[in-house]
Symmetry: C2
Subunit: 330 residues, 2 copies
């Protein structure tokens, strides 16, 4: 019996109608509740007004690049750098070449901290070799490769600009670290940077190599690298060094031109001092530079000639960071 209730609108509608309406309302609430339960969980870090659009693999192979980063004994730096590089414009994918033999990759941690702007592939290696990063990875889907050392941070602005330069000079190594070789009267070559004497072709200095530890180059050169004389691999393995010098020889031979195009970086940093591993890079070894001179001469002997060519072109970005960075006193 429904005394008070029945005296009110219920009385007008009729008890049967009232019961029907109540049942409908309850059913609708139950359905709504079920639907809510099926919705995907929303994480707490989502900003109220942000659109969650995961980056798809749809970036054209020509308009994006793949980052290849080899790592050894510097996982803390690696993870720092991955946070930076994962967000670079035009990045398609990251390939981490895992030289920590027998050690688990940080893939689980990486996944637990997702989602990420781009996919990362951890390529577990069986032997700790410098030239592991120069494999022709099947994961590569883009024409362009960006190769970075695992202790080097280059700003997104520099990378975006250098990538645009690479797109205009796709047969060259376009990067941020120039080096050169010099001839000596004895015919023996020596390797170095600007502290070495200028090669003597007109005013100013010249460079004949751009190091691949901070550079863009065409993936075709990774294919080419697989076709080199055995002696080249032996040299790189013997020294655990000089893979970049070998690549410059390869590119110069292929093009008949200077192998590299130097783009002057605005913001490039070596994070080595920030590592907790206490592991110092190979370039700290006392014999490092002597080894590189040794490699230059060995490679000349292997390739039966000096293919490296000099360039003095230094490219900067017009009007950036300073919109008047080209202003003159005219």
């Amino acid at each position: 019996r429904c005394f008070h209730f029945c005296k009110l609108p219920g009385r007008v509608m009729g008890i049967r109608l009232l019961r029907f309406t109540s049942v409908v309302i309850i059913v609708l609430l139950l359905v709504a509740g079920a639907l809510t339960a099926l919705l995907p969980t929303i994480k707490d870090d989502k900003l109220p007004n942000s659109r969650r659009e995961p980056k798809t693999q749809s970036q054209s192979a020509l308009d994006s690049f793949t980052l290849i980063m080899q790592t050894y004994n510097r996982t803390d730096l690696l993870l720092k750098l991955l946070n930076h590089y994962q967000a670079i414009p035009h990045l398609h994918k990251i390939i981490v070449v895992w030289n920590n033999i027998g050690e688990k990759t940080p893939e689980e941690m990486w996944n637990s901290l997702g989602p990420h702007p781009v996919p990362v592939v951890f390529k577990v290696q069986t032997v700790n070799r410098m030239r592991n990063r120069l494999q022709n990875f099947p994961d590569l889907e883009t024409k362009a490769v960006l190769m970075m050392d695992d202790d080097t941070l280059v700003s997104a602005h520099d990378l975006a600009f250098a990538f645009s330069i690479w797109q205009q000079f796709p047969e060259h190594i376009v990067g941020f670290v120039p080096r050169k070789h010099i001839s000596t009267p004895s015919g023996v070559y020596s390797y170095g940077s600007f502290e070495l004497q200028n090669p003597g072709f007109g005013n100013g200095d010249q460079y004949s190599m751009v190091l691949i530890g901070a550079a863009f180059f065409h993936r075709g050169y990774l294919e080419d690298f697989q076709q080199q004389p055995e002696a080249v691999y032996a040299l790189i393995d013997e020294t655990q060094n000089c893979d970049d010098i070998a690549m410059n020889f390869l590119v110069a031979k292929h093009t008949g031109k200077p192998s590299g195009v130097f783009v002057k970086p605005v913001d490039i940093r070596n994070l080595e001092k920030d590592t907790n591993s206490g592991y110092s890079g190979m370039w700290h070894r006392a014999e490092h530079l002597l080894q590189r001179s040794y490699c230059v001469n060995k490679l000349v002997s292997i390739y039966d000639g000096m293919p490296l060519k000099y360039s003095n072109i230094m490219i900067s970005q017009f009007g950036f960071p300073n919109y008047a960075n080209h202003k003159n006193k005219m």
Copy 2:
């Protein structure tokens, strides 16, 4: 009779032999004197230890360039600049486009102050036209043209470097003065420099033109210029301006790429303030920049489209003037 003499060696030789010898000596002296008189006169300005090797016309057409300098009412500046430019490395010849109608060229003075490192040709014009300098001069023997305004001084170092850049980018206008056009929502274009807003393609500024008043370009473009629609000539003649904008349109249309490559000058000077003629360049006219915006829109209409493309490449010389000018904090 030769007493003392005859008693000495003469006696042994005999008088006949002595006479014969004397005659031979006298004849030789006469011949030597005659030959000396035939030698070319040596001028006083010759340094004792200098070799006088006049520069021949033998510089390869690919390894040298021709300077074309148009001049109006600034002969004092012209002569100053000629002393500078005549000594630039790789210069083949200078063509002075003489826009001082009815006035004698300084050719006599030039000759009286010879010898000069390169020949200069004075092309006397019949009408004072801005586009006189864009004729396809038969005097041109080199592939490369260096065009300079008659009030602009660019250092030999800058010119040597920019010429080497042109040799690597021969289809572009390689020069020292970048400018741009911008689109506006109304579809009307505007012309300017870095004080105008950036075109908005990524970071930094862009340029879409390199002015020909301080630039290298291929002589082929002078031939091409002769084949342009009449309306282009009419526009240049009407404004006495914009020949350089027209050239950039021509080059961009031809290559489908940015017309120019900007080389950042180390030392470029405008000598206008140094002139005694009191004549200020055209760019001082109040309507100068408005005219150039007008020209951009007119040319778009004549060519039925906007062929100019943007670039943000700024080229400098590696290790010059400062051998460490690319050094970074890595």
